[in-house]
Symmetry: C2
Subunit: 210 residues, 2 copies
Amino acid sequence: MEEIILRDPYQPKHYPLLVVISGPSGVGKDSVVQALAMREDYAFHFVVTATSRAPRPNEVDGVDYFFVSEAEFESLIHQGELLEYALVYGQYKGIPKQQVREALASGKDVIMRLDVQGAATIRQLIPQAVLIFLSAASEEELVVRLCRRQSESETQLVRRIEMVREEMLHLDEFDYVVVNRECHLQAAVEDVLSIITAEHARVHPRQVIL
Amino acid sequence: MEEIILRDPYQPKHYPLLVVISGPSGVGKDSVVQALAMREDYAFHFVVTATSRAPRPNEVDGVDYFFVSEAEFESLIHQGELLEYALVYGQYKGIPKQQVREALASGKDVIMRLDVQGAATIRQLIPQAVLIFLSAASEEELVVRLCRRQSESETQLVRRIEMVREEMLHLDEFDYVVVNRECHLQAAVEDVLSIITAEHARVHPRQVIL
């Protein structure tokens, strides 16, 4: 049975949040998280994913990913020490529980950037997580952004748009939706910070237990 | 059966909020509401209470109160047109539903300043209301503020402190708690605005139907 916790204004205690920033690809999840990291008025722990693939030339262990061997990754799976994991093209990717646990214990909010599927998994595993869906202002705006990447063929682009439409159907599993308007990144960042401030003011804190 | 509403980021619609700012007396509810009213980046409708008592010299009808006759007030009661009302020392005080309905229809958020008892009544009547409990940082700070008013005898002060303690027990019926620290009014106002921003970003808006 869960203990009922009330925020006591006379004895302020910080209940760190687990915040998931998600949304379709191309919507600007990385930009929002990077802009948050630049804020001097807000400190958080950004979750670094573990992977069994080899690091690319510019990648730094512990910053871009935690690079672990396949055997190490599988041992994490067997110990139930991954919050979420997937095997994509023969390579593992997942979130080590221990990292999240330590960050929360330090009192810092934990922020994860996940695709919509990953966010839905977190919702199941950790109902107390705060799920933010980052959206474009319109499908057109998102398509323009995806085109600008120039890394995709027309077929890939069509597939991506279909995927975005499917991802939009998961909106109802999220707590909040923030529109990341073209050229208005800071407004989206402010909205995310307001959501975090409001969550810290909840009388009934969403206490995360892992 | 209630219709399930989802905020659509591609078709942004404004769902006006009903926000109750409450808390013990002396905590600064008026100051917070006044500071909110000064903000040029946020427009809202402040609910004016109706009363059957006569206006005092400086009071303006429609600003301080809506001054109505006892007969008019009783007719509002019989029509079920009051959100909440009380008879105190033979004088009626209450919130006309029509005013709130019109303000919400205009698309503006509606803000009410209510004592803790009144806020609890609103919670029962309008579960979708956003209830903010304004608190002092400590009981000592609140007592100092009450003393500074100098309008109260020692007996009244003791009674007031007892009342504050009782009011604190209602905290769990609120959504959010904001600490209005001595000399940090603007911080409290920013917290209230963050809560309002976050509520406007909810995927499942709290739609108020009166």
